[in-house]
Symmetry: C2
Subunit: 440 residues, 2 copies
Amino acid sequence: MREVGIGIAGFGTVGGGVLSILSRHAGDIEARLGAHLTVKKVAFRDAGKSRALDVPASVLTTRVEDLLEDPGVEVVVELMGGVDEAFALVTGALSRGKHVVTANKALLATRGQEIFRLARARSVDVYYEAAVCGGVPIIRTLRESLASDRINGLVGIVNGTTNFILTAMAERGEAIGPVLAEAQRLGYAEADPTLDVSGGDAAQKLCVLAQLAFGARLEPKDVLTEGIMRLSPDDFRWGREFGYTLKLLAVARRCEPAGSGPGGKDLVEARVHPAFIPQGSLMAGVRGAMNAVVLQSEALGTSMLYGQGAGAMPTGSAVVSDIIDLTRNIMAGSPGRVPLPPEQSLVELRPHSEIRCAYYLHFSVKDEPGVLARIASTLAARSISVAAVQQREQADASAPVPLVFVTHQAREADLKAAIAEIDRHPATLNPTRFIRIESV
Amino acid sequence: MREVGIGIAGFGTVGGGVLSILSRHAGDIEARLGAHLTVKKVAFRDAGKSRALDVPASVLTTRVEDLLEDPGVEVVVELMGGVDEAFALVTGALSRGKHVVTANKALLATRGQEIFRLARARSVDVYYEAAVCGGVPIIRTLRESLASDRINGLVGIVNGTTNFILTAMAERGEAIGPVLAEAQRLGYAEADPTLDVSGGDAAQKLCVLAQLAFGARLEPKDVLTEGIMRLSPDDFRWGREFGYTLKLLAVARRCEPAGSGPGGKDLVEARVHPAFIPQGSLMAGVRGAMNAVVLQSEALGTSMLYGQGAGAMPTGSAVVSDIIDLTRNIMAGSPGRVPLPPEQSLVELRPHSEIRCAYYLHFSVKDEPGVLARIASTLAARSISVAAVQQREQADASAPVPLVFVTHQAREADLKAAIAEIDRHPATLNPTRFIRIESV
């Protein structure tokens, strides 16, 4: 039986999952593939951790170069994280004609183009199902199933940490501080949670998805990115009054009209931010650390993929499914079977100021005559149309009055200008809060 | 550029969608595949319909044999429906070494084994993404993504017609008669809706899914199948009181303990019936004619695929994605790249009497002392434990009193024996209604 040699770099949670799945399902995988997958090398940093799994000592190494130098390693599995070392390993592997499986979204979001170019030049494959939403087969779906479709939009809950936090805040009415601390205690958030709670992780994933969905070449810095730290229990309470729940969404969408960008390309918007969505919607049912991506496409209409976004086994399973796919290509002598994203960007990014959304606006004003009228007319002057208003009677007339507006679709630049004007007025006691509303 | 010849049999809704996608995306598909897909023959029954699409007259034929006899047709796309003629076409194609794409679940559910055996013998491929849940890539997911996982259960809303009807009944409180009539008027239900409303269509799909998920060899007659015609607005109202909504579910699941069937095989249960599910669950959010399948697997945990189950474009898109995949195999010279379901059944069917579910029980009894106690003790004697009870005061003491029980998990045979005993009692005025409860 043909043997395919695997080298794994990084022996953390996901690496452990991969080794465990490969050994437990060895028989099944052989039967399906007609090939035997042999783990030739496992490179790791911390010698102590290596004892957790049943891997022969001869396979273990602390030098990632060993994976590159071993001619028996045909597939390099990069699970190191970080960008620079991972880039060196991946490009080293590709330039030696080895195929690559990576779970590294940061690497792909920032240096994906160079990696794909090299893979094309060397006629080898790069698979990365585990880079986005762990066990949710969104990469495969975008790469394969939709080859004959045109995707017009994608909206995802792609960060399990923030969804865990927002679900707990929604269900228990607590502030973000204690909920984040609990998420850290339970292992859902890292000791330094910045990348997750800032939306940065979701922005990296959005870049990877937008490339496959639209042929967009985006880097995280191109994505409008707002995190969840400024959200308060009050936002959840007000949202509920209007029938909304709060999620951190990653949104990428073609803008109307088609072909209105430079060179007749389509414009796309790309943004990651907290958003109100209708309580009864499918996305609202995505709770805890789960992930989901909703696609809007021409032929399929609305579709959704849902599953666990992280964890040793879900992510490990995605890595193994990539290894199996790659092995099928190797056995069939057909690398490059599924094309990588296009070299040139097929679309242009729309400036964030041109985004059009419905908005929730929370004004904090003095309880005096004419305030409501002035705010309404400031909005109207910028063509911002109001869908709903709510003001509650206050017991204490000297306290700021919360005044909440929900708008119809408006242009982001108009909205921000209106807020700036309203916030300059002496009757406005605190800066106005706004949250975008999505209908997914 | 390499040309791959396609022959399409059946020129109905889906056939039109396929032709439209192939022509609109011809450039994209060529660029991705490095091959040109040419529709060589389109066989149809009704000459009148052929005019709707822009196909050269030379391609059209009323003889499906033309597809088989044309050596330029490498891929036969069977969209005829029905079993006998479709079987003849598909086996004719396979035995001539042509690959097959089919959207025909009835064919696969009843004669799939013969078709797969022939395909294996001739080293050609059979693809059938469109056979189950149209645009939802469930077949691909089961065949490919989960190659390294073990699936323990699947629960699907796989029939759009019944989901449309149940959604309307739930939201408008109407009886099934007028809602079915409306579904027919809108094209969601056929003139003869029997196959859909009886659960028969869902049972066929469940057979196809269970074969991929578990290696089960089931025919529709093996599936416990109950339709939706007996459901009343009253069931929806009562369900709502207990926090449930009603869906027609297709369920296939490995039973505990593993390996407890004959020959040490796993037992699986297979059933299609209306079920109460929690109002806040993901499945409850699957509304109208949409489809969804929830998978439970060892590595991935819970995952869900959601999308349009029917329609020219979603189903056509699934067919075209199969054609593209097949063409990749042809170009790479690697037919049989993804294995077909195993020849022998890997699992055994558990007798339906052994199913364990929670149940909703609706008794209709005389308003007299001791009735509640007797029903409760009859259930207890069969080890059926009660989770909730509700009885309402009646204005008219002579009218039957509705008495609703929700049970914990119980064995189906015990439950039916208890109902039979209760229904024999003179205080029971109408046959007891029961609806199974699922927690998806």
